[in-house]
């Protein structure tokens, strides 16, 4: 068994992970960080983020306003102390990224430009055209290369947290290239593996977003928080689910139904005069309602509405939204300069995740989490567009620094105990690779996704969610009987898919079960049988714990500081 030892083990190399890694080596001159990532870091899903990153910039803005917008967007489920911390550190983090070379779009005088975004009451979204995530990720990755103390294990798949006496001291990681398991030991572990959009069939999320970090923590007894809140982005391309950024509405795009109406203006969907700049949950519901009312277009991938950018003109589209134009042309054959883009709501983001405090620490000693994998929570029941990239930076840095502090105060774990666990993982991998069984990975994955869409979509009710819970339980049973065909060790992606599916089934179950017991509508969790918010019972985070018998669900009060929950109307 190969054993690698570093101070800090990082799982995932996207925006949050790389920020955490850089923070860790910058805050301490000796610390080494080992970045375990199942794909080359610059491939991480941060790369697909388009619209921008929020932080107070202009003189028309202030921290309280950003905090209030975020809290209101979250339907008051976000922790107010976390949000205050977040908005305060956001501008510095985005400036830091500017210093690291991120090509932010600029004003004529050379200052960083900002744009409007859904649910934000003033312009505060920093952007690099409409490839913000791409530029942020590459700037972070390239900057990380400066540090020899950031050691990368690219294309290593973390399969288990190694735990000694209740404290996490590393991970077992499958080297996809060789098929061997390596014990990667450290005194703290940071999870930055992103979300789990792939548990749904139509998602903006990349194939790699399979909830790995959530499942790793969950199976070791760390609770997942607010998992029932899954954000649908209102404007994805039908079929592929490719994201058409909210910036297209921020820059002035309009939504139309098949009667040529700007339905957000002509019908009352609660977004008021914000119209297309309303928050995502509300817009997604509005589009679904239009579909139900027969006012949507019919296409080969079901119903859709139109996102019209034509009035912005070619020059503005090319300057501010070049990627939208490229995507629409390439993938649906529509040039937004001349035609409206077909769009529909599509799964985009998990508000929930591994339970952390505002330093990124989870309840398990030594374990930290940041980015989409974590629920701090600043997003509550609905995240505002452009807060997530900033969240990766703010809480990535916080987790990196907190992990260094933790690692400095404790001894190494018992190597024998940890390596034994990794050896067991190695045995499990060998067994899995040679597994014979009647079930196919792809079939179970497809059924899981279909079941999540039907039960935990934009609109939910008790019957649909209970059916999904039952279906998932049955799928987990069938998973035990999967068979694998690829017996070779070198770059065996089938075994990776098998483990990803296991992770997704755990995450899906957490989503469905927590959703089924929250008998109210809040943010992205919209129940037709309980259409209103119920602060008396549910101004609470859900916490789900793993148990062999099935998820165990508990609740924790939301932290309130200066804002009283109010009705969410725009």
């Amino acid at each position: 068994m190969k054993v690698i030892r570093h101070d800090i083990v990082l799982v995932g190399g996207g925006g949050a992970g790389l920020r955490a890694a850089i923070a860790a080596v910058e805050v301490s001159p000796e610390t080494t960080v080992c970045c375990v990532s199942k794909l080359y870091p610059m491939r991480s899903h941060t790369v697909s983020a388009e619209g921008g990153a929020a932080a107070v910039a202009g003189s028309d803005d202030n921290l309280d306003l950003h905090a209030y917008d975020t809290l209101k967007g979250s339907d008051f489920l976000a922790d107010q102390d976390a949000v205050e911390q977040f908005v305060q550190e956001a501008p510095g983090e985005l400036t830091q990224l500017e210093h690291w070379g991120c090509p932010w779009s600029r004003e004529p005088d050379g200052r960083v430009a900002v744009r409007a975004f859904g649910g934000m009451s003033v312009k505060r979204t920093w952007f690099a055209a409409d490839k913000t995530g791409f530029h942020m990720l590459h700037a972070l990755f390239q900057t990380s290369m400066k540090y020899d103390r950031i050691v990368r294990l690219d294309e290593f798949f973390a399969t288990k947290l190694l735990v000694d006496n209740g404290r996490v001291c590393g991970v077992a990681a499958l080297d996809i290239r060789t098929g061997e398991v390596t014990a990667v030991l450290g005194r703290a572990v940071i999870l930055c593996t992103g979300g789990a959009g792939q548990v749904f069939p139509f998602t903006t999320n990349a194939a790699v977003k399979t909830g790995d970090g959530m499942a790793l923590a969950y199976r070791e007894g760390v609770p997942l928080k607010d998992m029932e809140f899954v954000q649908y982005h209102p404007t994805g391309l039908p079929g592929t689910g490719i994201l058409i950024t909210e910036a297209s509405r921020g820059e002035g795009g309009h939504l139309y139904n098949n009667e040529g109406e700007r339905f957000l203006v002509t019908h009352d969907y609660g977004v008021g005069n914000k119209a297309e700049l309303g928050p995502r949950d509300m817009l997604s519901r509005a589009i679904m309602r239009e579909m139900e009312a027969g006012r949507a277009f019919d296409g080969s991938y079901g119903k859709y509405v139109h996102l019209d950018l034509r009035h912005l003109g070619e020059k503005k589209i090319d300057e501010k939204l070049p990627f939208v134009r490229e995507l629409a042309r390439n993938f649906v054959g529509v040039d937004p300069v001349h035609e409206p883009i077909p769009v529909r709501p599509v799964v985009h983001y998990m508000m929930g995740g591994v339970d952390t405090d505002i330093t990124g620490a989870t309840p398990m000693p030594g374990l930290y989490a940041a980015g989409e994998v974590a629920a701090v929570s600043i997003n509550g029941a609905n995240r505002l567009g452009s807060n997530s990239l900033t969240e990766c930076l703010v809480f990535g840095r916080r987790a990196g620094e907190a992990a260094v502090r933790f690692a400095g105060d404790c001894a190494d774990g018992d190597e024998r105990v940890l390596v034994d666990q990794a050896e067991a993982e190695h045995g499990r991998m060998d067994a899995l690779r040679n597994k014979v069984g009647g079930e196919q990975i792809a079939v179970i994955r497809r059924e899981m996704q279909a079941s999540m869409e039907s039960g935990c979509g934009v609109f939910r009710d008790q019957g649909s969610m209970d059916a999904t819970v039952a279906a998932l339980r049955q799928l987990k049973g069938r998973y035990a009987d999967i068979g694998l065909s690829d017996r070779s060790k070198v770059f065996n992606t089938e075994i990776v898919q098998a483990m990803e599916l296991r992770n997704m089934l755990d995450v899906a179950e957490a989503v469905a079960q927590t959703a089924a017991v929250r008998t109210e509508s809040r943010g992205a969790h919209t129940r037709t049988d309980y259409p209103t918010r119920d602060d008396s019972q549910f101004l609470k985070h859900s916490l789900v714990n793993f148990s062999p018998q099935g998820p165990e669900i508990g609740y924790r009060d939301v932290t309130l500081t200066r804002w009283t929950p109010e009705e969410r109307k725009y």
């Binding site: 899903h45 932010w104 600029r106 960083v112 900057t143 990975i441 065909s485």
Partner: protein, 248 residues
């Protein structure tokens, strides 16, 4: 939607273990392809329902993560944006040329990663400004002077198309040079002198033979050939001491 039609794919298979050792082979699959299928969809269909032993890399399937580059009918391409309907059949899918093959359609990228790092792709400054004093000012014109070269997604198609790579695998190549040039051109950077030794060195720009193939295949219109040749011009003038090196 019209019925999917059956399309023949010839996919390259190689494994250092078991039956596929040796020189690799072309394996034929028949895939039912709806009209809007891209090559990656077909590969995933093969992986999911025909032959789970096929290995390939992919992730975002929207042309920005850079992981699904392969040779499609002899041309390096992102398989997520190569529409089956636009290609001649049978469709031949192979691993990126000019890279060692790890398995099937998966190539070895370690040398590429080293090349990227060798150009020091980060902002180098003599004096760093504290974040609390705000951003470095950069006008839209200054941004435009390097922006195109910051669009590279590291998909490596340019390396697979570059005729120099065939015979000189140590050439740092179009993407790495474009990245180094991108930082050299950035008004915030002062690292040109540090990058000179690599960019204008033994494995640097002078190996380029003006084929322009990199720019022909670049899916993001980065035009690495422009970067390579501009760097040649700048380096030549610096070599003649007509032009100073930023940060020297």
């Amino acid at each position: 939607m019209s019925e999917p039609r059956i399309v023949k794919f010839e996919v390259f298979r190689y494994s250092p273990e078991g039956a596929e050792t040796g020189e690799g082979k072309w394996q034929t699959y028949e895939v039912p392809c709806p009209d809007d299928y891209v090559v990656l969809d077909a590969l995933n269909h093969i992986k999911d329902y025909i032959d789970p032993t096929l290995s390939h890399r992919w992730s975002c399937r929207m042309g920005v993560c850079g992981s699904c580059g392969m040779m499609v009918n002899g041309t390096p391409n992102l398989t997520c944006k190569s529409f089956v309907r636009d290609l001649e059949h049978p469709i031949r899918v192979g691993p990126l040329a000019n890279f060692p093959v790890v398995r099937d359609l998966v190539v070895e990228l370690e040398s590429f990663m080293d090349k990227l790092k060798s150009v020091k792709p980060w902002i180098i400054r003599k004096v760093e400004k504290d974040v609390k004093y705000g951003e470095y000012l950069q006008t839209p014109d200054e941004l435009d002077s390097y922006r195109q070269f910051s669009m590279c997604i590291n998909c490596c198609l340019c390396y697979a198309a570059c005729p120099v790579m065939i015979n000189e695998p140590d050439f740092i190549g179009p993407a790495a040079i474009a990245l180094g040039f991108r930082y050299n051109q950035d008004s915030r950077d002062e690292g040109e002198a540090e990058r000179y030794a690599v960019l204008a060195g033994e494995h640097g720009v002078w190996n380029c033979s003006y084929a322009n193939e990199c720019s022909e295949v670049c899916p993001k219109h980065v035009d690495p050939a422009a970067a390579v040749n501009r760097e040649k011009l700048v380096s030549a003038l610096q070599w003649l001491h007509i032009l100073p090196k930023k940060g020297a």
